[in-house]
Symmetry: D3
Subunit: 133 residues, 6 copies
């Protein structure tokens, strides 16, 4: 595959997963680091995300764990909580996954990520979250 | 539930998920911080892990993401990669999940976690890992 | 203790330590993750904070160290710098504790936490901070 | 050297490197932690930055790596991306350095730092960045 | 104060707090980075640790919080848990402080630090730790 | 370029920069995550490291900053301190770069990285390091 073909393949995966939110991140990088935008699309989505052996839904669970633990990734959590909804995780599952991180990453990281989820769920009219019981 | 009942409930969940590995962590805390051991069992497993809305398999995907991103958690990754196998994730899925973290947490964290997986898989006679293609 | 009793016990501790600020964090979680709010109250404050062997003042010193080192916890530092004042630490002691973190966590983390302290002290009319000499 | 002389020496280094941006950080600490402001000037710049064996340009490359990896240091990245320009790094070199961090610290940290660079470059009329080919 | 006087002052503080353990860290740096050893002594202990407004005991509580949250600082935790004992914190208080970090930094960081405490307490014949009730 | 050509290109860059140390990391991943080994070679070195606008020497300064700040990356620091020597940084410059990180990432991270440098320098008969004074 050529560089352009890898980019186009990645952009298709990115659009399926992130909708417009991922595109906005790439656009925001265009005049400062077009190569970083290229790598997000061609490598992160084209080469990595699209690989077999783990479904998009499972990848988002891992990604939510990583981004919550890193801290300071509110922009990326916004994109990836949207992505999590897009690939089939329910609001209750996402809230529960972020609650689960409290055990391993502590309450503050869990709270910060949950407040991003609240913003995303609000924008998509998914509040209040209804736990299964 | 009494404090003892919460502990017993948690120990049952812990045994199902971690087998003996979790018990060894709790034992290692007995003479220095019995309360920390109690909280791992009664709270982390009894109250949190056992909640509905996310399956053990899904919880382990989140946990692998968190522990890889934190870094310096080789002891805990050993326990939780074993746990991941115990609750139904395959070696190929675990390797792929740890590969996926490279995008968000960088290559070094991904490599360090993968080397712990290599140790665990070796001990359980699961090497080499066979990706799906 | 029942789940409700643990919550009520925790809420009493939380109110003593954090005043209204902790309550606001719990409220902000109500429609997205009521269980996370419950765990902050029932577990973090009811089970853990209220334990013997370390005074509230000492706990806040540890907490300030943890939150400063983690980074990206400005919301939680706001709550816990208020809490530190509530349990008897002086502004000069808090500033000195945050200065001390520079040795171990570096200047940027120390500066970021100190700017949160400046905001909190300003809101409580405690500026300028007067060091002891 | 006396305490005052160390401060004056540090302030000269700070002004050369950071221009007014460093001074603003020091000023912002004046009423909450004058000693932290003193240490930034007298120690970080007077004692450490001014040492031989590494040029200011090389120091800024290390600093960009550290601040990007830490995360949550947008304020400090703003100061130090300005400093990097002041000591002779080009916008293309800075963008490339921040892109390089993606390999080791992951895409989110790299993106966050690059968006701070975009802000700084915009303020100094240096957009769009022109890679060498 | 001259550079040598600052070093001697710092070494006196370091010896009071850390005993021989701090000296060993400084010695280990002698042939690779004598200046880093100098800064640990002259700056970290001479300039910072010895300041008023926070007692050595309080400083160690903050330090334990920072080092536990950072992760990967087992060498430094060893030194500073020894230091904590030297300046008057009891084993029960230290264990409780490290348990307290679990709320904010998560269980793995708390467990890792507690296992270092176990090693230090064992070397000083302070096991088992006796909580107050 | 085909997948194999990208790998071969990356392996050439990796060999130039890391000598045998990088190869050993890739080999260690062969039976647990061959794709991670592929990505280290084809992406990290072939696509990213080999890009223009930043010299290998400059990239190593950034990398040392990132790896020191992350913590828990002793394996990778070993590889990259060797790489830093291979691309022309002197032991004195490397020690100074790691000392510089103390300002931004704190003393413990700086000490830990410096002790890895001591090991690498010792293996290559480069001790004691001679600062330029």
């Amino acid at each position: 595959m050529s560089r352009e073909e890898r980019y186009e393949h990645g952009m298709k995966v990115l659009s399926d997963v992130d909708g417009e939110a991922g595109q906005r991140v790439v656009d925001s990088l265009a005049d400062v680091s077009p190569e970083l935008g290229h790598q997000v699309v061609a490598w992160a989505f084209g080469d990595m995300y699209a690989r077999p052996d783990l479904s998009p839904r499972d990848r988002q669970l891992v990604t939510l764990g990583v981004l919550t633990a890193l801290g300071g990734c509110e922009i990326e959590l916004d994109v990836h909580i949207n992505a999590a909804l897009n690939v089939g995780l329910t609001p209750a599952e996402i809230s529960e996954a972020l609650l689960h991180t409290a055990v391993y990453a502590g309450m503050p990281r869990s709270i910060n990520a949950t407040l991003v989820a609240k913003k995303v769920f609000g924008e998509r009219d998914l509040l209040p979250v209804k736990p299964s019981e």
